[in-house]
Amino acid sequence: MAEKHAPGTTAAMATPGYDFASNWNPVPLWASIHIEVGGLSVSTCCVPQVSVVNGNLQAALDAAAINSSPVGWPELASGDSYAVRLARDRAVVVGGKALRPGWHAEGFAVSLSDDAGVVFGISGSGLEQLLSLGAAVFIDRPSASASRLFAGLPVILYRHGHETAVRLHVARPRAAAMLEWLTISLAQLR
């Protein structure tokens, strides 16, 4: 399996035995991510109970004992139990009373999503500048949906806890790419 060409080149990648893993850093241990640059920090959050509900959102929130309305942008979610609106009839429910996956007669469907993504918590001064590198995300440009394209990747983005903190949900298969982007972008803010 000796490589005859420089790693990463087109010629090398065309050889049958070329290992494409050399083009990509190994996937990190998500629980241990913490980057701090200046006053801005990025960490992975442990969010133990995440579901996606489709259909009658109010009925779903009632069933989950979530008392607040689903947040969009730039509304503020707080605590361990809240909902985030993705579409007219779709929301992410974090915490609350555990819902049985599947269809519910009240008119909503529940899909487990605890393992579907990695949740980054980003907070501190310079947050707005960091967000401005990834997408047209501005406090004065509200959106009923927290689902958006950020850094070229589909994400869920909302403010959580306080006004200089956001949570960023990224699908697990794309989380390594998001971490790479965050690392480079934080360096640009130095």
Partner: protein
């Protein structure tokens, strides 16, 4: 031309000297210089060669309009092409190289080409190099021309930053109009962003030093910019708004000049005010491209910004009133000035003036010697400064969809008002005097022009008279310096009936490339108008395309390079596979194990495929789609989505099926599981998940009641680990002893749910197989348990390559590999639903067209050949003498370790009736024979599925 540095004036620091090189020669300048001003200060006039004729070219302008002085720069070991000397600040140790010149602009070995100019008119290349083929000539021609050379080894030292911004008002240009507008808007409480391409505010005020509100222009500009910031506005210097796109998205490039890559700004503003100024255009006369012929305004800029005097004996040729300030300033600096003014009523004081006269030629030999007027006068001169009037910079207005109006009093196109979100002000709108510019800026901000503090002395009105090119005269008159286009070229184009302005552009290259007609467009249009005998307004303009100035590719790429360029999807078990010795490749956007082990690819893949048939193999199938469909109408929905009947599927059961597109061709295949009456899971191809999810939602919203069907892609939530092979049941039982695994209890195409685990009996190998679905975070533990429990059973790890062999042995297809854009389900042997399914489904109608019913369609077959495997992609051909005609092609081809021979699948015309026939297979000049066989080469009775 004997330009020189004065010992006073300009915004340069004479106490500091910066050394640099141009074409290998050492020069020096000062902080505050541009490369252009530093070269002019040292009397360097030939700085480039023209693109086609290799004529010597000098510096014409002083800013972005410069068509000639475009350099390759090397700084700190980094080579950057396409840098304008007029906009590049001088830095120590910078090395500049002219373009289109070998070895240097001063002594170009291809200068002889100009002597053959009459033989290489416009479109010469198109007409001459047609036979035998353009590509025979292309390398040499490209070697002779171009605007710089990219360095193949260049790698940006860092990712360029890309930033998004929003504001109430974006003002483009910090001249008097832009500054007035921005400050007035900020004072009214608007969120204002002002961008300007220069390092300091003021625009042309820095060139002319004209006072505003009784304050010297540059000082007024700095004060106004400070006031803007104090009022809450933002100001980005060295930032060019180079294009406007859909929904008024403005892109701007911010230069840093410190080694840091340029920043790309994406600005979304509620309103855009363009105050981009105007560009002075040249006069046309024979040899008007010679070094030493320069824009009059540029000479003023070099004098006032850099303390450089363009010459000692200067002729100013003009057709308008804007040169009065130029003449006064040059004379004050000590130059001897003569005016040649085409206007009969031109007036001046204390300056030699030739009224109603135009330049008709120059004497040039390694420098300008004399100029000749059409009145028969010859004037000694070392610099000829010309002004043919001013052209508003309407690029952004036109890119935003704005129209233009011709104004005879200005001899220019100006923006037609009426765009909803964009207003053009100042010189860009034809308001050429300071008073007009300031007033229009304030009006655009909703302010009152009368609100100016202090007031200005009224500027004299702008007057201009036509001095368009004279057709049919002797000598070559250049219209477009950058693209080497003369009036003769335009005349030739018109003679050959390229009389549309867009055709003219393409035939002659007039206004193309980075110039985008900055100096040439109006003169070119005027020439064409004269040829057509029509007013300029009726000729129209070409399209103004972004970017307005060159923008580096690194800037457009931003962080999208390396691992951020088209990032791949990652498996939850990727690191486990790395530890297990996997060799990865990219499959459908995922990084997946191709095979495991340290041997050669061929050896390991064959070993894995053999081991899977003999015992049990463990495979990571996590990317397989897991799209959930819920709701009261879910059953009706899946029956419509699938080609196969799905309404009869019972809970706990699984069925294989196709999804078609509306044209009846196969979109995807896979299995559907029914969890309960209102809940299905679509397991689609790994690489098609996003597309299938989007397709499902489209049909949900367009064809059904979206309140009774819901779709959720849960692929990322679940890992799928597959056991396959005769010993798979034994291994599964070892890990889940509580499961009843007898075939009566757990039949093929059924599943069991227990806890957070779903085990499905489906097979892509033809052998007994089980797919175990667990939450992604549990995958590593399960993988370890399966490996550990399988040690005694000789469990082997299975990569994608061996899996492909196993499924091909069974004649099972991969969508996109064994199908093409025309393959219908009955081509793959699945004709029953087409004949019997009563309900509606996607693509049904298309399955009964004449085309769909042709007997000679390409259908899936197997091919058997001796020796090496056939090449995938090879064509089955019929041979008629020297001609070959394709009858289909090989879609998959492998060496089967379990059959001990090559196997192949193919799409073959009328293939099903040709089983047993020997066909010819052609690939890369080689023709082989193969036998047409059924697709399934192994276990056609299907005994192994329960084996």
């Amino acid at each position: 031309m004997s330009s020189r540095r004065l010992d006073h004036g300009g915004e340069i620091d004479r106490a500091v000297t910066l050394g640099f090189k141009f074409d290998g020669q050492a020069y020096s300048g000062h902080p505050g210089d541009t490369l252009a001003s530093a070269l002019l200060a040292q009397g360097v006039h030939t700085v480039a060669r023209s693109s086609k004729f290799h004529r010597p070219r000098g510096i014409w302008g002083a800013w972005v309009e410069e068509p000639n002085a475009i350099f390759d720069l090397v700084q700190a070991g980094v080579r950057m092409p396409n840098c304008k000397a007029t906009t590049t600040p001088l830095a120590a140790e910078i090395e500049a190289f002219s373009v289109n010149a070998q070895p240097s602009a001063a002594a170009d070995r291809h200068a002889w080409m100009d002597r053959f100019a009459r033989f290489i008119p416009a479109a010469f290349y198109y007409k001459t190099f047609m036979w035998p083929h353009w590509h025979w000539f292309e390398p040499r021609i490209r070697d002779l021309t171009g605007l710089g050379r990219a360095d193949p080894a260049f790698r940006p030292n860092a990712a360029a930053s890309q930033r998004h911004a929003t504001c109430d008002l974006l003002v483009v240009g910090a001249g008097v109009a832009g500054l007035s507008c921005a400050l007035a808007a900020a004072a009214r409480g608007q969120d204002v962003l002002l961008v300007d391409d220069r390092a300091t505010p003021g625009g042309m005020l820095g060139d002319t030093l004209e006072p505003v509100e009784a304050v010297p222009g540059p000082q007024w500009a700095r004060r106004t910019a400070d006031a803007l910031i104090a009022a809450g506005g933002r100001y980005l210097s060295s930032t060019t708004a180079f294009g406007i796109y859909d929904h008024s998205l403005v892109l701007a490039s911010q230069r840093h000049f410190n080694g840091r890559p340029d920043t790309l700004w994406r600005v979304r503003a509620r309103k855009v005010v363009v105050a981009a100024g105007a560009i002075e255009r040249p006069l046309t006369f024979p040899d008007n491209d010679r070094p030493g012929v320069m824009s009059a305004h540029a000479a003023l800029a070099y004098l006032n910004r850099h303390g450089v005097l363009a010459g000692d004996r200067i002729v100013v040729a003009t057709n308008n009133s804007s040169t009065a300030n130029v003449v006064r300033s040059l004379m004050a600096a000590g130059a001897e000035v003569t005016i040649v003014d085409s206007r009969a009523a031109a007036e001046t004081e204390d300056v030699p003036l030739h009224r109603n006269a135009q330049i008709c030629g120059v004497d040039w030999r390694r420098g300008l010697r004399r100029v000749h007027t059409d009145g028969g006068k010859s004037l000694d001169a070392d610099a000829l400064l010309v002004s043919g009037g001013w052209t508003p910079s309407v690029h952004l207005h036109c890119q935003a969809g704005g129209k233009l109006d011709w104004r005879d009093d200005l001899l220019a196109f100006v923006p037609r008002p009426g765009l909803a979100h964009l207003t053009t002000v100042g010189a860009a709108a034809g308001d050429f005097t300071l008073d007009q510019a300031q007033e229009s800026g304030m009006r655009a901000a909703g302010g009152s022009p009368g609100a100016r503090a202090g007031g200005s002395s009224r500027s004299p009105p702008y007057q201009v008279e036509p001095a368009w090119p004279r057709l049919g005269g002797g000598g070559r008159q250049w219209v477009d310096f950058q693209n080497d286009v003369t009036t003769r070229d335009i005349e030739l184009a018109a003679r050959e009936n390229f009389v549309s302005v867009e055709h003219l552009k393409r035939y002659t290259t007039l206004g193309m490339a980075v110039d985008q007609g900055k100096t040439s467009s109006i003169v070119g249009l005027a020439t064409l108008a004269a040829i057509r005998g029509e007013p300029i307004a009726s000729v129209g303009t070409t399209t103004y395309r972004p970017p307005f100035v060159p923008v580096s590719f690194a800037s457009f790429a931003g962080v999208r390079r390396g691992q951020c360029f088209a990032p791949i999807k990652r498996l939850p078990l990727e690191n486990v596979h790395r530890q297990d010795g996997a060799v990865f490749r990219e499959y459908g956007g995922w990084l997946r194990p191709a095979f495991y082990g340290n041997g050669s690819a061929e050896t390991e893949i064959q070993r894995e495929a053999r081991a899977a048939r003999e015992g049990v193999a463990l495979f990571d199938g996590s990317p397989l789609g897991k799209i959930e469909i819920f709701g009261p109408d879910a059953e009706r929905f899946v029956d419509f989505i699938y080609y196969n009947t799905m309404a009869t599927l019972k809970p706990g059961r699984i069925r294989y099926g196709f999804m078609l597109n509306e044209g009846g061709t196969v979109f995807d295949d896979g299995v559907l599981s029914r969890i309960d009456p209102e809940h299905f899971v679509v397991s689609c191809s790994s690489s098609h998940v996003d597309a299938v999810a989007a397709m499902l939602d489209t049909w949900r919203q367009d064809q059904f009641d979206p309140d009774r069907i819901f779709i959720q892609d849960s692929t990322a939530q679940w890992a799928t680990l597959t056991l396959t092979g005769p010993a798979s049941r034994q291994l599964l039982g070892a890990v889940y002893p509580e499961l009843e695994l007898h075939d009566d209890a757990f039949a093929h195409m059924s599943f069991v749910d227990f806890g957070s685990v779903r085990i499905s009996r489906v097979s892509f190998t033809g052998d007994r197989s089980y797919e175990i679905g667990v939450a992604a975070s549990q995958a590593q533990a399960l993988w370890s348990r399966l490996k550990g429990a399988g040690e005694g059973l000789g469990v082997s790890l299975l990569g994608l390559e061996a899996l492909s062999i196993l499924r091909a042995e069974k004649g099972l297809i991969i969508i996109g590999k064994d199908t093409d854009g025309q393959t219908m389900p009955h081509d793959l042997g699945f004709g029953t639903p087409r004949e019997k399914k009563l309900g509606e489904f996607i693509g049904k109608r298309a399955l009964f067209t004449e085309q769909a019913s042709r007997p000679d369609r390409n259908v899936l077959v197997g091919l058997e050949a001796d020796g090496e495997p056939l090449a995938a992609g090879a064509h089955v051909v019929t041979v008629d003498g020297p001609r070959r005609a394709s009858e289909g092609f090989v879609t998959s081809s492998y060496r089967s370790p379990n059959l001990g021979r090559p196997i192949a699948l193919a799409l073959l015309r009328n293939g099903r009736s040709r089983i047993g026939e020997t066909v010819q297979v052609f690939h890369l000049g080689q023709t082989r024979t193969a036998k047409v066989v059924p697709p399934c080469a192994l276990d056609p009775q299907g005994a192994r599925i329960n084996g």
